[in-house]
């Protein structure tokens, strides 16, 4: 599905990502954990072509490292950005429609809309409200629902738990697991390492722009170094 080699990203001469290798197989949920400033979001933004990057990003066979961002979603690669990025002045339904912007199969879009609203019932209640009036958790649901409207094959999720109340975090992660069970490959970036490892099959640990550990999630959860540094030393 996704094969990344020697990915590098720099902001004005300062390297944020210094040669990252990543692989995601079909239908696989993989997480990328690490501290604040480790380069996780930069990696994800580079994959979504929101930042200029060097190296190789092979998505379903194509090297997309030079592609413009707007080409990806039509190919099934969708990003739920950090901070949600819903269109505050568009209604909930209009936000969802933006997710299907690249599709022209009207009937299918309508049935996907019903499916997404079924998966995220809070959005149905608020369908005609402006997205800016939603709570943080509802906005996160909307951002995920919007990405689902594109029928992604690979979903990149950037810090979906950020700023949410624990009950909402739990709901968001239930939704993520449902999506994964439907066969969508997921790359999950999280600071909440424990939660991220609990829903993924493999994990990468990132530090200072590099992948420092890669293993199955179960092994990472047991790894003393990971426990020490990222799981609160439990």
């Amino acid at each position: 599905m996704l094969k990344v080699r020697e990915l590098r990203v720099a902001y004005g001469g300062i390297a944020a990502v210094k040669g990252v290798d990543l692989d995601i197989a079909d239908r696989e949920t993989v997480c990328l954990i690490g501290c604040n400033g480790a380069g996780k979001t930069s990696t994800l933004k580079a994959l979504a072509r929101m930042l200029p990057a060097h190296g190789e990003i092979r998505y379903r066979g194509d090297d997309i490292v030079q592609w413009p961002a707007h080409r990806l979603i039509g190919e099934g690669l969708a990003l739920v950005p950090e901070g949600r990025g819903v269109f505050a002045r568009l209604s909930v339904l209009e936000n969802l429609a933006m997710g299907a912007y690249c599709r022209d199969d009207r009937g299918e879009i309508e049935s996907d809309l019903q499916r997404v609203l079924g998966l995220l019932p809070r959005l149905e209640e608020r369908a005609s409200q402006l997205a800016g009036t939603l709570s943080g958790g509802e906005q996160q649901m909307l951002a995920i629902g919007r990405a689902l409207m594109a029928r992604p094959k690979l979903l990149l999720l950037d810090e979906p738990s950020m700023g949410l109340a624990p009950i909402m975090v739990q709901k968001v992660f239930e939704v993520i697991q449902t999506i994964a069970a439907e066969g969508v490959a997921i790359l999950l970036v999280e600071q909440n390492a424990k939660l991220a490892l609990s829903v993924s099959s493999r994990g990468y640990v990132m530090d200072s722009g590099l992948i420092v550990l890669a293993d199955s999630s179960a092994m990472l959860l047991d790894n003393p170094k990971v426990r020490e540094a990222y799981l609160g030393g439990e």
Binding site: M50, P68, A69, L72, F87, A97, Y101, A150
Partner: protein, 307 residues
């Protein structure tokens, strides 16, 4: 009373034209946060293009309204192409430059367009052939002619169409999404550059329509006519709240009314010291008052730090 009604009619006609031009400023500002100061010149190019077509066809015996329609049909695509090129040449290369840079190129484009049109069309005032019926109908003691009715009606229909485009269509939704957050819009698959081009093209088409209206209504066109018209329409956009479509329409109509009523009554109010030749003062008085008292405009959501 007659004067009042008459000035309201004149104000609505003028205001419809301001509103159409103001929409061009406000749409571009809404998406790019940029004041396209060359927009007035687009209006002027539309007026002169239509004028030439109309003059060429004036002797053919075609009915007047048909000839003017041909003029409009020529002016609109010319201005659309011009708007597209202006964005490509003057603004796109400066997309990430400091704010002052595109403002300066806008003024540069303005000067270039004015001078080019002066070379082609001369520096004298050109008269627009009187092809449209200006026979007055009486309305509540005042008079209104077919052309004025047509201007108000066409402007209203066009603005209604624009609202439908922006609020109800896929591309309109993409425009609103891009205006709010271009990088997130591109994640949705929106080709932001294409949306920006589209916005310039639509705004320029509205400008062409306004240019034909203004030159037909006042029977005159001139290479520098876009300057004052552009400034006033910009004022209208600021009055309504720049970046806000409904605001541009409201601001345009209000400014037209203020200017008409002001110039209609200024003579009486000042005992004849100042006459209606001071009409331009009103627009700029409005601009200054809005900027001092309510910089976000009547319908603006937030105070703009970028204007």
């Amino acid at each position: 009373m007659d004067t009042l009604i008459q000035q309201i009619i004149n104000g609505l006609v003028l205001g419809s034209i301001y509103a159409l031009v103001a929409l061009g400023y406000t749409m571009v500002y809404g998406i790019l946060g940029l004041i396209n100061f060359a927009h007035g010149e687009v209006v002027m190019v539309g007026a002169l293009t239509a004028l030439s077509i109309v003059k060429a066809l004036a002797g053919t015996g075609l009915p007047g309204p048909v000839i003017v329609l041909f003029g409009l049909m020529g002016a609109v695509p010319v201005c659309m192409a011009l708007g597209f090129v202006i964005e490509r040449v003057a603004y796109r290369p400066l997309r990430n430059a400091p704010r002052l840079a595109p403002l300066i190129t806008a003024i540069g484009v303005s000067i270039v367009l004015q001078q080019l049109m002066m070379l082609g069309w001369g520096s004298t005032y050109l008269s627009f052939p009187p092809l449209l019926s200006t026979a007055p109908h009486s309305l509540m003691g005042a008079s209104i002619n077919d052309l004025q009715i047509a201007i108000i009606a066409v402007a209203a229909l066009t603005m209604g169409g624009l609202v439908l485009l922006v609020q109800r269509t896929r591309i309109g939704r993409a425009m609103r999404a891009t205006a709010e957050n271009p990088s997130i819009a591109s994640l949705m698959g929106v080709n932001v550059n294409r949306i920006i081009s589209f916005t310039f093209v639509i705004g320029s088409a509205l400008g062409a329509l306004a240019g034909v209206m203004v030159s037909a209504n006042y029977s005159i066109a001139h290479y520098s006519m876009g300057f004052m018209l552009g400034l006033k329409a910009f004022t209208a956009a600021v009055l309504g709240g720049i970046g806000n479509l409904a605001g541009a329409m409201l601001g345009g109509i209000l400014l037209g009314l203020i200017e008409s009523l002001g110039s209609g009554y200024i003579g009486d109010l000042t005992g004849g010291v100042l006459g209606s030749n001071y009409r331009d003062v009103f627009a700029f008085l409005v601009l200054i008052l809005v900027l001092v008292l309510r910089p976000s405009g009547l319908m603006g959501e937030r105070v703009s730090e970028r204007a």
